[in-house]
């Protein structure tokens, strides 16, 4: 099997699992307990927190809160901050956020909040001027993702943070960094970002653990009330093995960053170039330089995405599609639509996302096999004249 869907989830690194195992077996104590048996889990959480602090470049470990997933981190940040600032009822976000964020804002909109959704250009880059024009004195929260999950395009969150603090200093800024963590360096300490969320399973920790970073002067209410855990801001007995896991994964991701930015990027570029060159109806949905190094999004004209995925799966390749048919939602990707990708390629857009475990031979295999698959699939299409035109343009 060739796994090229690392933006969906990743393989757990063996070294992460090793580190977790003792806490799934013998070291099962509740870290809040008073006896010596609880010392190891308590110390392990402390160590994991320090590792994540370093990974995100936070000023201190009190700014790190463990959660159950990226969606919980986002929900805590958004609802928690808005709860603390009820007089202001204006929010700015983007049209291309992840549903975990977007649907949370839709809910606030229903309850009377005013939400501005900033658009992107045809390359998936954020319209910064539009954002600047929307920022107001009564803006409670701005929320922009660090990198887009479908296109990999990186957004200038540091610049946005600076602008917010200079124009509307009371507005809070949340960054959904789920797709950036482990792919590009993050250093919150040097930025004016208030809150930032990540998810472990996107960088080789298991599913079921995330982190919310909140700058020390940021107030927010908990999403889950209860015990004193996470300084009273996220109740529930700590998920020790998974917290240990995300700590280890953060440490390993930090070490692997150089490799991501050079070698993973090289393989991504090879895959991208190879497909565009060898497949006549392939079209790069965005080629901007400022992308995370592992992601490419390619539209195959006049062929539907689910059909491509099924045929890729038949030769052992895992990828994903912004096609409506894969999700059952009937509507194709909101991200690609916001970019204005033409209908001819919109429904046939495929995301391929690599990881540090991707091998060059796997990339070569996909580049070699894809042309034949596409020849077969285009032969079924009713748009033969249009396809012929594409062939002749080559």
């Amino acid at each position: 099997m060739i796994y090229l869907d690392n933006n969906a989830t990743t393989k757990v690194d063996d070294r992460v699992l090793e580190e977790m195992l003792p806490f799934l077996k013998d070291e099962y104590a509740n870290p809040s307990s008073m006896y010596d048996f609880a010392k190891k889990p308590a110390a392990a959480i402390k160590e994991a927190r320090a590792k994540v602090r370093d990974f995100l470049g936070a000023a201190n470990e009190k700014e790190i809160f463990f959660t159950s997933c990226g969606s919980e981190s986002a929900n805590t940040a958004i609802k928690g901050v808005l709860n603390c600032n009820k007089d202001k009822r204006h929010i700015i976000t983007t049209k291309v956020e992840h549903p975990a964020v977007l649907n949370t804002y839709k809910e606030f909109e229903k309850n009377g909040y005013e939400v501005d959704y900033i658009g992107v250009n045809s390359q998936g880059e954020l319209d910064i001027e539009e954002f600047k024009s929307k920022l107001r004195k009564d803006t409670a929260l701005v929320s922009v993702m660090y990198a887009n999950n479908e296109t990999g395009v990186i957004y200038p969150v540091e610049e946005i943070a600076e602008y917010i603090k200079s124009k509307s200093p009371e507005a809070r800024f949340f960054v959904d960094a789920v797709q950036a963590a482990g792919k590009i360096p993050i250093n919150v300490k040097d930025t004016k970002i208030d809150l930032l969320g990540i998810s472990g399973h996107k960088f080789h920790a298991p599913k079921g653990v995330g982190v919310l970073y909140a700058k020390s002067d940021v107030r927010f209410t908990p999403l889950i009330n209860g015990g004193h855990q996470e300084r009273g801001l996220r109740a529930g007995t700590e998920n020790v093995p998974y917290i240990v896991g995300i700590g280890k994964a953060a440490e390993l991701a930090q070490e692997a960053l150089k490799y991501e930015l050079s070698e993973v990027k090289r393989l991504r570029d090879k895959l991208e170039d190879g497909i565009i060159k060898n497949v006549f109806n392939a079209r790069l949905n965005t080629g901007v330089k400022n992308r995370v190094p592992n992601t490419t999004n390619i539209g195959f004209e006049y062929v539907e995405g689910e059909l491509i995925l099924l045929h890729l799966s038949d030769i052992g390749v895992c990828a994903s599609s912004g096609s409506a048919c894969t999700s059952g939602s009937l509507e194709p990707s909101h991200v690609l639509r916001a970019m204005g990708i033409p209908f001819t390629a919109l429904h046939g857009s495929i995301r391929l996302s690599l990881s540090r475990f991707t091998k060059e031979s796997e990339i070569d295999y996909v580049i070699e096999k894809l042309p034949a698959i596409m020849d077969k699939l285009t032969s079924i299409s009713p748009f033969q004249d249009e396809l012929e035109k594409l062939r002749n343009q080559r």
């Binding site: 539907e304 689910e306 048919c325």
Partner: protein, 276 residues
């Protein structure tokens, strides 16, 4: 991941009768590129028998499988036999389709109908397949689905909810603005007892009051709140939330998503609820 039957897998992997018949006698089309799936069906006749059929499909695995199996189903059939084929027959022949994918089988039926229309003429065919609903205006503008298409899908597949209609026809699957209209079509089809009826103002108030007392109030009481009917002005139902509901930050949500939707469902789809 969809749970596709073995037959669907077989047909998307090895579709039968792919291509174009250059001297086709009948050609039928359904769907569009913008909507994410489209099908072109070519028929070659020998008298009134379908001698050959070919297809070209832009669509997902189940769309290709539906088109492919349809060609196998109609080759060798007389036109009279072919016109009796419904989307349900196509789905059954495939060993079933996931609910969300039923619209693929509908696309097959529509392309076949479109082709046969050119043989039988539009009106005759509508009588034959029993489309008795007058008028054919577009209900869902996102996917260009007409009232007749929805009516037919309800009839053939015994659809009861808006969600089912969306699964079978795509109508209402994008912006969602036509969901109210779809509900009206379903209600009209089943001549539902609670469908919009001409009530006198007094009857209307009595009915609203009864629904509030028997169905809405008990629900709110469970959460420690309650509701009081103040007045009904035209279609505006004026209420007051009491108990813990008053001052609750979710009160607006409760009013719209619960109180209003129950009243719309049970009394009149045109009602609007407002708090006074």
């Amino acid at each position: 991941m969809w749970e596709y039957s073995e037959k669907v897998l077989e047909h998307y992997r090895h579709p039968r009768n792919v291509g174009k018949i250059d001297d086709a006698d009948l050609i039928g089309e359904a769907g569009s590129l913008a909507c994410g799936d489209s099908l072109k069906l070519y028929l070659k006749l020998d008298g009134n028998v379908i001698k050959d059929a070919k297809f070209q499909t832009f669509g997902c695995g189940s769309a290709v499988a539906s088109s492919s199996i349809l060609t196998e189903m109609i080759i060798g059939k007389t036109l009279d036999e072919a016109k009796k084929i419904t989307n349900k027959d196509i789905a059954d022949e495939l060993g079933g389709l996931p609910q969300e994918k039923m619209h693929c089988s509908v696309m097959g039926q529509e392309a076949l109908e479109d082709a046969l229309k050119k043989y039988y003429g539009e009106n005759t065919l509508e009588e034959e397949i029993g489309v008795s609903h007058s008028g054919d205006k577009i209900v869902c503008t996102c996917f260009n689905v007409t009232e007749n298409q929805i009516w037919e899908a309800i009839k053939i597949n015994n659809l009861k909810t808006v969600e089912e209609v969306t699964n079978y026809t795509k109508a209402g699957g994008a912006c969602g603005r036509c969901r109210g209209l779809i509900k009206d079509i379903i209600d009209t089809y089943y001549k539902k007892e609670n469908a919009v009826q001409e009530l006198t103002p007094t009857q209307k108030i009595l009915k609203i009051s009864k629904v509030i007392d028997q169905q809405i109030s008990p629900q709110l009481q469970k959460d420690g709140g309650d509701i009081e009917l103040i007045d009904v002005v035209g279609n505006r139902v004026q209420v007051k939330l009491t108990g813990v509901c008053s001052g609750c930050k979710n009160a607006a949500m409760t009013l719209k998503s619960f109180v209003e939707s129950v009243l719309k469902d049970k009394v009149d789809a045109n009602l609007e609820v407002e708090q006074v």
